[in-house]
């Protein structure tokens, strides 16, 4: 059972020097006691004086995660007026996330966007004039989280969760129909069938949890789209970026293809490149659809790379793309520097008002400059990276783990020989928890399924 103690990463998710994981609530001290160890292993942070700093390690069981400084802040003299723990760790996206996950594993839940501030307000810490501002933050963040959460889920993850939910609701509907109308619907020996289904769902959830551990549950990267007219050199650029000497981040089997994406790491920054080239290189008739698709992708992208064929004059395609990249984060690559150039950097800069870099995808020149440009954009904060995704991932992982717990409970109930009505309680909580991941609100799903699938009544 989750307590109402919340945790979050309160610094941005860039590779900064230090990141802070903050915990607030009744269980904050209990949790830190379970995961913190001083160098000598003799200190309990729940017993130290308030507002003190402690050096030590964060552990998950026997495994050391990071060397940290921990601030112990006892309520009510804290931001939220609750007991607060702040863990200053070594930065780095992976470690920070791991610490947050550990905190969640030992009893906290991931804070909703703006929740620390909300608590501060509700507990009377912030004055009235700030109320509206808090509300706006909550709203903006929530809308962003909602829209990003679903769009960031990989296609097959969404599919699997939906499948599990469908099978759960069908089974519960059967049990409930039979309980509601025992004289019409015979439940028979349903436990065995259900056990098989629960086991297979558990296997899938385990796999999802594993992929969450590998950070592969969500697309965690900068969504990047390469645009350019046919033969501008988009595919060549992809090939260069994906070349042997690059750190290619492969995906879990079978997932890359269905999203037509390649994941590339540049100076430790992950780019998810949507391969619009594949769409472009088809017959002329489909060209229109290709443009439409590219436009869609460009709308959702964090970063656009516009590849210009320097050996040919601008044509309609180019002007259309220039229209598309207005007001967007975009790097323009003037390709084919190995050929006779008909377009100059200055011309392009004038037309696009973007950074322009001269490259030859064929010979590999200018690529280094391009990579440095990406790095600078990112570290200067000009390339907004979606830190909500990391949080969402932790939250989703926690939800999957919770759903798994519920299904294990069902399994135990079946093995204990309990009657069917006990199963539906935990089945429904698994159903609801998984619904939270895919952003579906619980409504009258169960009642509707019962009536749809089973003939009831007098």
């Amino acid at each position: 059972m989750k307590t109402d103690t919340i945790a979050a990463i309160s610094t941005g998710m860039t590779n900064a020097g230090i990141s802070i994981v903050r915990i607030s609530g009744d269980e904050a001290f209990n949790i830190i006691d379970k995961i913190y160890s001083s160098p000598k292993g003799d200190k309990k942070l729940s017993e130290v004086p308030s507002h003190t700093v402690h050096y030590g390690y964060i552990l998950d069981g026997d495994r050391t995660i990071d060397e940290v400084m921990v601030l112990v802040l006892r309520g009510p003299n804290t931001y939220t007026r609750e007991d607060v723990i702040e863990i200053d760790c070594h930065g780095g996206v992976v470690v920070t996330k791991k610490i947050l996950e550990t905190v969640v594993k030992y009893g906290a839940r991931v804070a909703e966007p703006g929740e620390f501030t909300k608590r501060a307000f509700v507990n009377g810490r912030i004055d009235l004039s700030q109320a509206e501002a808090v509300i706006d933050v909550i709203n903006a963040k929530n809308e962003y989280a909602l829209s990003s959460s679903l769009s960031q889920l990989k296609g097959n993850v969404l599919g699997k969760i939906k499948e599990i939910r469908d099978s759960i609701i069908h089974n519960v509907a059967f049990i409930e129909a039979a309980l509601d109308d025992p004289e019409h619907i015979e439940i028979g020996n349903f436990s065995e069938e259900l056990l098989m289904n629960v086991n297979s769902n558990l296997t899938v959830l385990d796999k999802l949890l594993e992929s969450a551990d590998n950070g592969r549950l969500l697309r965690e990267g900068i969504k990047t789209v390469i645009l350019g007219k046919p033969n501008a050199g988009k595919s060549s650029l992809m090939n260069v970026l994906l070349g042997e000497d690059r750190a290619i981040v492969t995906d879990i089997a079978g997932t890359t293809r269905d999203t037509l994406e390649e994941t590339v790491s540049i100076h430790g920054i992950t780019l998810n490149i949507v391969d619009t080239a594949g769409i472009r290189d088809t017959a002329d008739v489909i060209e229109k659809i290709g443009v439409k698709k590219a436009r869609e992708n460009a709308m959702n992208a964090d970063l656009i790379i516009y590849v210009v064929d320097g050996s040919r004059d601008f044509d309609e395609n180019d002007y259309e793309i220039m229209e598309l990249i207005k007001e967007r984060k975009c790097v323009v690559l003037l390709n084919k520097s190995d050929l006779n150039m008909k377009i100059t950097i200055e011309q392009l800069e004038e037309l696009t008002h973007k950074t322009v870099i001269k490259i030859s995808a064929k010979e590999g020149t200018g690529i280094e400059e391009f990579e440095t440009c990406i790095k600078e954009l990112f570290y200067e904060g000009k390339l907004n990276f979606n830190d909500e995704i990391y949080i969402t991932n932790v939250r989703h992982k926690a939800a999957i783990a919770e759903a798994k717990e519920s299904l294990l409970q069902v399994k135990n109930s079946i093995l204990d020989g309990m009657s069917e009505d006990f199963f539906s309680i935990d089945l429904m909580s698994a159903y609801n928890t998984l619904g939270y991941i895919i952003g579906e609100m619980v409504d009258d799903d169960l009642v509707n399924t019962i009536f749809k699938e089973f003939c009831m009544g007098k």
Binding site: V122, E132, I135, L146, E183, S419, D421, C455, G457
Partner: protein, 627 residues
């Protein structure tokens, strides 16, 4: 010509299951109560199925009884068969159902009504609700008589603009040919109440002498009777029981129905009302579940002094000639003589989200409503709402705080919360799956859950309430004793375990641990429990359940704790959602429409997101600070 007649505290419009409970509750709270009915002979009429209870509905009846209502007592007096459904399942879904002698049920209830102090019955059609400055002032009958009063409970059932239909025959009457109430709807609309049209149906009644029972399976009642009312003991209720009978439709039946679908008013569009999915007509079943080659048909007696048999499972609005063919295709009904045709009935009811959780109209102070008028279906659902509406109308007159039962303490709470919070597009029926905390809301512990409230409002006597308090004490005491009584692996213990097919002990344990084993129970370990004192059957039952299912119960209690947090955050009635700037438009509209009394209720409104709730919570705290 209108003229003013006597003053009353509370006027109840309707004398069905909701009306009876409402009127009795109000009168028993010593308030002068007047109950109107279109026919005094139809008090507590059961125009459809001849039974009370069943899955989740049985729970409602037990809760009505625990609160001091009448339905449980009345069915205990008049049942002719009693059965506990789902007995092989967990205690949360055990459901009591009794076949009623319909006439006896109605007559017995009438007798109770007529012998209750402060309660007057009047046969007349109420056609106007008098409202001044948003407050109810009285009612006016068709004859022009005005009855001033302080509160009104509307419990008009299926009578408002009722129309009964089969084939191309349609009569503007209420159930069983009783006269409909054709004037009240207009008055309700004129005071700003939004109406909708629902539909339901009932099967034919067939003469017992024309049925060949040898082709059917007999369905007997239970030998061991469980009373509905906590005031009765099984021994008091022993009596000869009658049987029901089971037969099935077949391909011929279905073919007859398919061949005549074009003559069904449901499919020809002659019926506009929305019908319930859980109680489909036989033509609905045949169309929607085309792959099923047969459907069950239950033949149930309507009473001890009538030949009429209710044909459960085959409600219909097909024309009379098709009904004959259809029923006669069922084994055992080949020579059936139909006493009353099956029919569908359409009626006006309200959109229940106009009500507060107290069942008072948000817009009109002192106007309450309950039953099918609120868009529900079923005698039990009606009675439950009638009781709450009656109690709250009474409390209103007395100037006291109304009662609101929440989802964690009763099925009645779930029922009312669903009605007033959700969009109901069909007549609402109770189901155990609608209750999130059903392990706690069992039919066996309704008295422990609700007697306190029944006592507070004055419907449960001091004596009865003290009995419940004592029962609770004995339960806790016995559970504690069992948990503290340790036992070793003595020869006697091992023998007891072996004889019950349970694994022998390796180390010592306590008695509660033994009871937790699936194959053991409080009763089966009696031989090794030397200090046991004699306890009542219902106490033992609670001890057993609480120990055996402790893990599950504890988890549900935790959930309830979470639930209560949001439920206890109240929203002031005068809140203006347009003031809460950051709420999304949809949320604003939904919240303004439903006007939830707590943040918990707000969270159950379709279209209100978690983000909206956060916004609302912050706004409420700000509001609080301001004050």
């Amino acid at each position: 010509m209108s003229y003013t007649y006597e003053n009353y505290d509370v006027v109840v419009v309707g004398a069905g299951h909701a009306g009876c409970e409402a009127a009795l509750a109000s009168a028993r709270m010593s308030l002068d109560t007047l109950m109107f009915t279109v026919s005094v002979d139809s008090i507590a009429l059961m125009p459809c199925n001849p039974n009370v209870g069943g899955s989740s509905k049985g729970h409602l009846v037990r809760e009505i009884d625990a609160l001091g209502g009448e339905m449980g007592k009345n069915i205990d007096k008049t049942f002719i068969q009693s059965k506990m459904l789902n007995k092989s399942k967990g205690p949360a879904v055990h459901s009591l159902r009794a076949q009623a002698d319909k006439q006896d049920y109605s007559r017995t209830m009438r007798n109770v009504i007529e012998s209750t102090e402060h309660l007057t019955v009047k046969q007349a059609e109420v056609c106007e609700i008098l409202v001044e400055d948003g407050k109810v002032k009285g009612v006016k009958t068709y004859s022009g008589a005005i009855y001033p009063c302080k509160a009104v409970v509307l419990a008009t059932g299926t009578y408002l603009n009722a129309r009964c239909i089969y084939g191309d025959v349609s009569n503007y009457t209420g159930p069983n040919g009783l006269s409909a109430a054709n004037h009240l709807t207009d008055s309700l609309k004129s005071i700003g109440i939004e109406m909708q049209r629902f539909k339901t149906g009932t099967p034919a009644r067939i003469d017992k002498r024309s049925i060949d029972f040898s082709k059917m399976e007999e369905q007997k009642g239970d030998e061991e009777i469980v009373p509905f009312s906590f005031t009765n003991t099984p021994e008091e209720l022993e009596r000869p029981q009658v049987s029901c009978w089971l037969t099935y439709t077949n391909e011929t039946t279905h073919q007859i129905i398919r061949d005549n679908l074009d003559r069904s008013p449901l499919y020809s569009g002659n019926i506009e009302g929305t019908g319930p999915r859980y109680c489909p007509s036989i033509e609905d079943k045949v169309v929607r579940f085309a792959d099923k080659d047969r459907h069950q048909v239950f033949i149930e007696p309507e009473g001890n002094y009538t030949n009429e048999m209710y044909i459960g499972g085959m409600s219909s609005s097909l024309p009379e000639d098709v009904q004959y063919k259809m029923y006669r295709s069922v084994p055992g009904l080949e020579n059936a003589k139909i006493v009353r045709n099956a029919y569908a009935i359409e009626y006006d009811c309200i959109k229940p989200n106009q009500l507060k959780s107290t069942l008072e109209f948000k817009k009109i102070e002192g106007l309450f409503s309950g039953g099918q008028f609120n868009g529900s279906s079923g005698y039990e659902e009606a009675a439950a709402q009638g009781l709450i509406a009656g109690i709250n109308a009474g409390l209103k007159v007395l100037g006291k705080t109304p009662i609101i039962l929440d989802r964690s303490e009763s099925y009645i709470g779930v029922l009312i919360d669903d009605l007033v919070t959700k969009e109901n597009k069909e007549p609402y029926r109770m189901m155990t799956s609608r209750s999130e905390y059903r392990l706690l809301l069992r039919q066996d512990n309704a008295d422990l859950r609700l007697s306190k409230i029944g006592h507070q409002v004055g419907l449960i006597s001091d004596e009865r309430y003290e009995g419940v308090v004592e029962k609770e004490r004995l339960i806790q005491e016995e559970i504690a004793r069992l948990e503290q009584t340790t036992i070793g692996a003595s020869k006697e213990v091992q023998e007891m375990l072996e004889s019950n097919g349970s694994t022998p002990l390796k180390t010592g344990t306590n008695l509660a641990e033994l009871i937790r084993r699936p194959e053991l129970s409080y009763e089966s370990i009696a031989s090794i429990d030397k200090d046991r004192k004699e306890l009542a059957r219902d106490v033992i039952q609670q001890v057993n359940i609480n120990i055996k299912y402790e893990g599950y119960i504890k988890r549900q209690l935790k959930q309830v704790e979470q639930f209560k947090k949001l439920e206890s955050k109240l929203i002031p009635e005068d809140i203006d959602y347009d003031d809460v700037h950051s709420l999304r438009l949809e949320a604003k509209q939904k919240l303004s429409l439903v006007k939830p009394h707590s943040v918990g209720q707000a969270s159950r409104i379709a279209g209100v997101s978690p983000a909206d709730l956060s916004v609302l919570l912050v706004y409420l705290s700000a509001h609080h600070v301001k004050k």
